[in-house]
Structure formats: structure tokens, C-alpha cells
């Protein structure tokens, strides 16, 4: 009995010691809060509080000064009923899905093309270049290329096209903006995806060749599964970036004297125009409602993408 009791005491003491850990672990635990607290405080001040404030503002009518007037969900109701917002939301989805499919398709195509190309790092730099050029410069270039008397139409006329398309007309303006965004983004995503593909051991491709796999099969059974994690991250990045897209459209379709046509607005531009239009009383409540909607949209989409793209990690 004594022996049993002694053994029991020993077990309890060991368990207690392991709970407390070594002196180093105890010290670490004690320092955990002081070390994490500053980051947590900063995170709360610069992210959580502003988000909470934005939610609060979105429930009010407020021009950015003076007293706020309680509005409840009026701003949200107004926003969802506003045809301009509906158009902006459509445009955002078009960019997110249409632009996303195009960007990733081209990025994969380029990755496959460049994989075995000599001097690919130089080519990669060239492809990446549009990503670092400011949107304003690109908008000037776009005008130079695509306006009625631009370079593209001059070339088309030179090869006998009598009536080249009106690329920058209102009907095509948003499509041209999408084209510009795809062009800018492709270099970035190609670079990231190429970095992932570079990590795939060459012998897997050699094995594919020996097994007689064609390029689609190589892509489907080697490249895609082994770069899946990176593609997941890229999808999240694209989702966030496309929903936030704003300055490129402002530079492409706007001017120093005003906002671009509402036909080119996205949800982000809607928020900007509502809060910072040159004329008129700013509607911070409505802009905040739009911002909260955008945040919610991003959160839902990111969670969905993470779930849909979840796979067991492949070790190689």
C-alpha cells in the first residue's frame, strides 16, 4: 500500500513538474504576455478598432464632421438598391472571376512555355515589369496604344482594316480596364507560380516523358498537384487585390477634373466616390457600409477558397 502510495506521489510530482516545465520554459511562459502584448495592442489599435469604427460609422449618416445621425441599416439598404452600386458589384465580380480566369490561364501558359526556355530569368523580369510601373504611366500608355488614332488602330489600318474597333469607347472601356489589369497582374502571378514550379524535381518530368505523357498530362498530374499550395495563396491574393482594385481604374478612366464614368466603377471606387468626391457632401456612412460589405465579401471568398483548395500536402 505504501509502495503504491509512493508510486502515486512520484507520478503526481512528475506530472506537476512537467506542467510547470523547466526553468527556461517557465521563464518563456512568463514573458509570453509582455512580448505578445505590444503587437496585439498595435493590431487592435490599427486594425480592430478601425474596423469596429467603420461598422459604427456605417450605421450612421455622417458627412465627416459634426454629430453623427443614427441611420441603422439604411445605408446598407440604400446601397443595395442603388443601380450604380449594383453595376459596381457586377464589375467587381467580372474582374474577380473573368479577370482571374484570364490571369491564371495566361500565367500557367507562360509558366509551361518558359519552364525549359533558355534565359527565362530575363524573360521573367520582362513579364514582371508591368507590375512595377505606376498605374498612371500605364493609363497614358493605354491611351497612346488604343485611342481612336492610337498605335493599334494605325497598325490595323495599315493592314487594311478600314474601321478598326473603338477600343476606348464607353461600351468597351471596362473591358479595356480588365485587359490592363490582366496584363499588369500576369507577370506577378507567373513569377510566383514559376518559383513554385521550379521547386518540382526535374526527374518527375523525365519520368513523365518516359511514360509518354503529353504536356497537358504533365501539367495535370505533376505541375498542378505539386504547386497547389502556391496556387491557393495566389487565388487568395488575386481575390483580395481584385476586390480592392481602385487606383488603376481612377487613372485609366478618370481625369484631373473628375471621377470616371459610373459604368467603370467597382465597389472600391464606389466607396471612394461616396466619401471623397470633389463636389457634394461626403457620405461617410454609405462609404463605410460599402467598405464593410467589401470586407465581408473578401472574408467569405477567402474562407471559401481555402476550403475548396484544401488538399493534403504532398511531400517531394
Amino acid at each position: 500500500m505504501t509502495a503504491v502510495a509512493g508510486a502515486g506521489t512520484a507520478v503526481v510530482t512528475r506530472a506537476a513538474r512537467s506542467r510547470k516545465g523547466s526553468a527556461l520554459q517557465r521563464g518563456r511562459r512568463r514573458l509570453y504576455v509582455p512580448f505578445v502584448a505590444p503587437a496585439l495592442v498595435l493590431y487592435a489599435i490599427f486594425l480592430l478598432v478601425p474596423v469596429a469604427a467603420t461598422v459604427w460609422i456605417s450605421l450612421h449618416k455622417w458627412p465627416g464632421y459634426g454629430a453623427m445621425e443614427w441611420a441603422g441599416v439604411k445605408n446598407y439598404r440604400y446601397m443595395f438598391g442603388d443601380p450604380v452600386f449594383q453595376q459596381a458589384f457586377e464589375n467587381t465580380l467580372l474582374l474577380l472571376i473573368g479577370g482571374g480566369v484570364a490571369t491564371f490561364a495566361i500565367s500557367f501558359g507562360l509558366t509551361m512555355l518558359l519552364r525549359d526556355l533558355a534565359g527565362r530569368s530575363a524573360v521573367r523580369s520582362v513579364i514582371f515589369f508591368p507590375n512595377i510601373v505606376p498605374a498612371l504611366v500605364l493609363s497614358i500608355l493605354w491611351g497612346f496604344l488604343f485611342q481612336a488614332d492610337g498605335l493599334v488602330n494605325k497598325l490595323l489600318r495599315a493592314i487594311g482594316v478600314q474601321h478598326p474597333p473603338a477600343w476606348l469607347s464607353q461600351d468597351h472601356q471596362y473591358a479595356m480596364i480588365l485587359l490592363g489589369l490582366v496584363w499588369i497582374s500576369t507577370g506577378f502571378y507567373t513569377t510566383v507560380i514559376m518559383a513554385a514550379v521550379d521547386r518540382i524535381p526535374p526527374y518527375l518530368y523525365e519520368d513523365c516523358l518516359l511514360a509518354g505523357a503529353n504536356s497537358w498530362q504533365r501539367f495535370r498530374h505533376v505541375t498542378l498537384p505539386l504547386s497547389w499550395d502556391v496556387i491557393g495563396v495566389c487565388s487568395v491574393l488575386w481575390t483580395i487585390n481584385s476586390i480592392k482594385t481602385f487606383e488603376f481604374i481612377l487613372a485609366m478612366a478618370g481625369s484631373a477634373s473628375g471621377l470616371p464614368s459610373t459604368r467603370t466603377w467597382t465597389v472600391s471606387l464606389y466607396a471612394y466616390a461616396t466619401a471623397f468626391a470633389a463636389d457634394g457632401v461626403p457620405s461617410y456612412g454609405l462609404a463605410a457600409a460599402d467598405a464593410i460589405f467589401t470586407l465581408g465579401l473578401v472574408a467569405v471568398l477567402v474562407v471559401l477558397i481555402r476550403r475548396v483548395m484544401r488538399r493534403d500536402a504532398i511531400q517531394f
Binding site: K61, Y65, G66, A148, A166, Q170, S255, A277, D279, S283
Partner: protein, 428 residues
């Protein structure tokens, strides 16, 4: 018991908070209270390097030299009012700003700006005249809001039809006075229009409405929450005239598919003949205009309305009601209305000044004469200040389609009526 680390963190946080408070203190308010009257803070809508900035900078230096009042200037750029707004009702970050009328009227809440009516009675430095005597009365009225003067205008921009005087010398003496005469003139010529800028497109329709129904008619229709005013035949007739311009090939090729300033450049290089544009045009076009280009302009032709004022927008001085250094700011305003200061601004910028006794640059001579003779009305009939959201969301998108020939006049009026009624019903 507090651990030493926790104590140090508390101390650090306290120090950081104090530093932040001190910094915030530095940023708020418009200057040290002890030096009230001897300094002021001016946030300018001009940016460093612009001709307007150069002229104002020199005038401000002279003001400081003469009065000993130090002016802390920040060349903030056009959105100066947006930046000032959060502090406007409590402790304004500037004692003086300048901005266009539309912004001042729409963005500054009632009681947010000092009524500068008192400055009108102040003597202009070095002159016998008062400020009110050097600013023409109709310009004072144009820049007033409900009979008060939250802004005193110092420069105006006006819309008119511009052409190269070297190519059309006969027009200086015989400009087309009626729409019919104008149509005959442009039957053989081309109009330049950068239709990617909705505000430029809108000028055509609004000018035609005003030419028929007179000043206030566009504003009246915009203010009608039922949309019924748009049913008046003159509104449809004005739309039909724009449709005719669009579909009749009057606008230079590519106007609907180019990027500003492509069409303006066409005009300045004699590939198009007329352009409806603001009085800033000569300064914008001077870098690419053809050699020997003579900037001449005539008023938008009448089409039934007996009076033919010029569409203008004043820009001017605003002193926040809660500014700390109001007397110093008002003293600076009165100083800047001096003939010498106005002349130096005019010489640097070729603008249209509030004072009509300055010598006008050749490029601004026609428009200055027009304003003097015909008087003015608020650009866009004041709608951009009063119904800005409706203007952006309802009017401009439909007008863009009308000007580019995508919408017939009848459809334009029909949609304008129904969408306006829906817009006001939704309310915000």
C-alpha cells in the same frame, strides 16, 4: 505585484502615449495662441511649382514684409478642403484656404465658414477703394450663398467656344449669335470634344438648355423630385440638338474613343476647329498648340433666351468660422485684392481675375470682355454643388450616352425623367 518587465512596458507605453499626444498637439489647431494676429496658416489649392503658386508666394512674401505677419503656407493641392474638413468644425488646421465655389458650397456645413461680408468693407492695401468696390457686384452675388459671403472670389473660370483666330479672323467681329448661325458655321467644320470626361460632355446639353430657357432652368429640372419638369419640350429639343451633333458627324473623328487630351490636341493643332471649354484652355494647350495659334473665343450662342450670360465658376478665399487667426487671414485677403498683386497673378497665369481693372493677357482678353458685357451664371447652373450625387449617378451617365450617340433624345429624356424620380424616391 508588478514584474520589472511589466513596469518597464508601462513606462514605455506611457512615454509613447505622451509623445503621441505631444505630436498630435503640434498638428492640431492653426498656430500658437500666443502669437495670435502675428501669424496665420494658409492651405492653398495650388501645388508647388504651378504658376499660381509662384505668383501667390511672391505676394505673400510682400505681405509679410509689409505687415510683419508670418504666413505658414502649405501648398496642398485641389483637395485642400477634403483635407481640412475633419478639423473644420472644432479646431481648423488652417486659418485660410482657397477653393472653387462648388466645393465651398457643398462641402462646408452651415456656420463652418466665416461670413466675409466684413472684408468687403475693408480698404485694399495702398488704395482708396474697398474690397467690395474692386470685386464686381454680379461676381459677389455669384459667389454668395444665401446672401452671405463664405467665399470671396479672386479668380474665375468660364466656359465658351474657342477657336484659332489665325484661321477664322472674321469670327472676332461676327461671332455666331444664334444656334442656327452656329450650326451653319460648324456645318463645314469639326467640333473637338474629349468625351471620356463626363463634365465636358455635360456642358453641351446644359448650355443648350440655358440658351433656350434661361439661367436656372437646368437647376429647376434637376431639383424636381418627380422628374416632371423634363417633360417641357425645350429640354427634349436641347437633347435633340445634342443628338444631331453626335449623329450628324459634327464632332471630330474618334471623339468617343479617345483619352483626354487627344481631342484638345487635335483642336490645338488645327485638326479640329471649335471646342467648348473653360478659360484654362490656353494654359493647358500652350505646350502643344500649333505655331502662331491665336486663342479666340465667343459665347455659347443663344437659342430663344433673351439673356446670354457666360457659364463661370469663381474660386476664392475661405476663412473657417473657428479659425484661430481670423483678423490676420482677413488682412491677407484684403492685401491680395491689391491691383499690383492681382496683376502679378494675372501675368503669371493668364487667368480671369476678380478685378476687372487689371490688364488682361491676350489669351484671356475675349473671355474677359464677354464676362464684362454679358454677365455670368454658375457653371452647370449650380447643379454640381446642390445635387452632386444625382449629377454623378443619374445625369452624367445618360448624358454621356446622348453625346456619344448611344441614346436618342427621346430615350434620354424618358430615362432622365424615370431615373430621376427613382433616385429621389430611394432617398438617402
Amino acid at each position: 505585484m508588478k514584474s520589472p518587465i511589466a513596469g518597464r512596458i508601462t513606462a514605455t507605453c506611457t512615454a509613447a502615449a505622451l509623445a503621441a499626444t505631444a505630436l498630435a498637439g503640434c498638428g492640431s489647431g492653426s498656430g500658437a495662441g500666443s502669437s495670435a494676429g502675428k501669424e496665420l496658416t494658409y492651405w492653398s489649392m495650388w501645388k508647388d511649382g504651378e504658376p499660381q503658386q509662384t505668383a501667390l508666394k511672391a505676394s505673400i512674401a510682400e505681405f509679410t514684409q509689409q505687415t510683419g505677419i508670418k504666413v505658414n503656407v502649405q501648398w496642398q493641392g485641389r483637395d485642400v478642403l477634403t483635407k481640412l474638413q475633419p478639423t473644420l468644425m472644432n479646431s481648423p488646421a488652417a486659418d485660410l484656404i482657397d477653393n472653387p465655389y462648388n466645393n465651398v458650397k457643398s462641402k462646408i456645413p452651415a456656420g463652418g465658414a466665416e461670413d466675409l461680408g466684413g472684408v468687403l468693407g475693408q480698404k485694399v492695401s495702398g488704395e482708396d477703394k474697398t474690397v467690395g468696390e474692386v470685386i464686381p457686384e454680379d461676381l459677389q452675388k455669384l459667389a454668395a450663398v444665401d446672401g452671405k459671403h463664405p467665399m470671396l472670389p479672386y479668380v474665375i473660370t468660364c466656359n465658351s467656344i474657342w477657336y484659332n483666330g489665325a484661321r477664322f479672323p472674321q469670327l472676332a467681329k461676327n461671332p455666331p449669335a444664334t444656334w442656327q448661325a452656329f450650326q451653319q458655321l460648324v456645318g463645314k467644320q469639326k467640333l473637338a470634344l474629349d468625351a471620356d470626361i463626363p463634365g465636358y460632355n455635360a456642358s453641351w446639353y446644359i448650355s443648350l438648355v440655358i440658351a433656350k430657357l434661361g439661367v436656372g432652368s437646368f437647376h429647376q429640372a434637376a431639383a424636381d423630385k418627380t422628374g416632371a419638369t423634363w417633360d417641357k419640350p425645350q429640354y427634349a429639343a436641347a437633347a435633340a440638338q445634342v443628338e444631331q451633333l453626335a449623329k450628324g458627324g459634327y464632332f471630330a473623328d474618334g471623339y468617343n474613343a479617345s483619352k483626354f487630351p487627344a481631342m484638345q490636341q487635335k483642336w490645338a493643332t488645327n485638326k479640329a476647329d471649335f471646342i467648348l471649354m473653360g478659360s484654362w484652355l490656353p494654359s493647358e494647350a500652350k505646350t502643344y498648340a500649333a505655331e502662331g495659334f491665336q486663342y479666340r473665343t465667343f459665347n455659347f450662342p443663344a437659342d430663344g433666351s433673351p439673356s446670354t450670360p457666360v457659364a463661370c465658376q469663381p474660386s476664392g478665399w475661405v476663412v473657417p468660422a473657428k479659425a484661430e487667426h481670423k483678423p490676420a487671414a482677413e488682412q491677407l485677403i484684403a492685401f491680395l485684392y491689391g491691383k499690383k498683386q492681382m496683376q502679378s497673378y494675372e501675368d503669371a497665369t493668364a487667368s480671369l481675375m476678380a478685378r476687372q481693372d487689371v490688364s488682361v493677357a491676350p489669351a484671356a482678353a475675349d473671355i474677359a470682355a464677354l464676362v464684362k458685357k454679358n454677365g455670368t451664371y454658375m457653371n452647370a447652373d449650380g447643379v454640381t454643388a446642390d445635387f452632386s450625387d444625382w449629377w454623378t449617378k443619374v445625369f452624367l451617365p445618360l448624358d454621356d450616352q446622348l453625346v456619344t450617340g448611344k441614346l436618342s433624345a427621346a430615350d434620354f429624356i424618358g430615362k432622365l425623367k424615370s431615373q430621376s424620380a427613382d433616385y429621389w424616391k430611394r432617398g438617402q
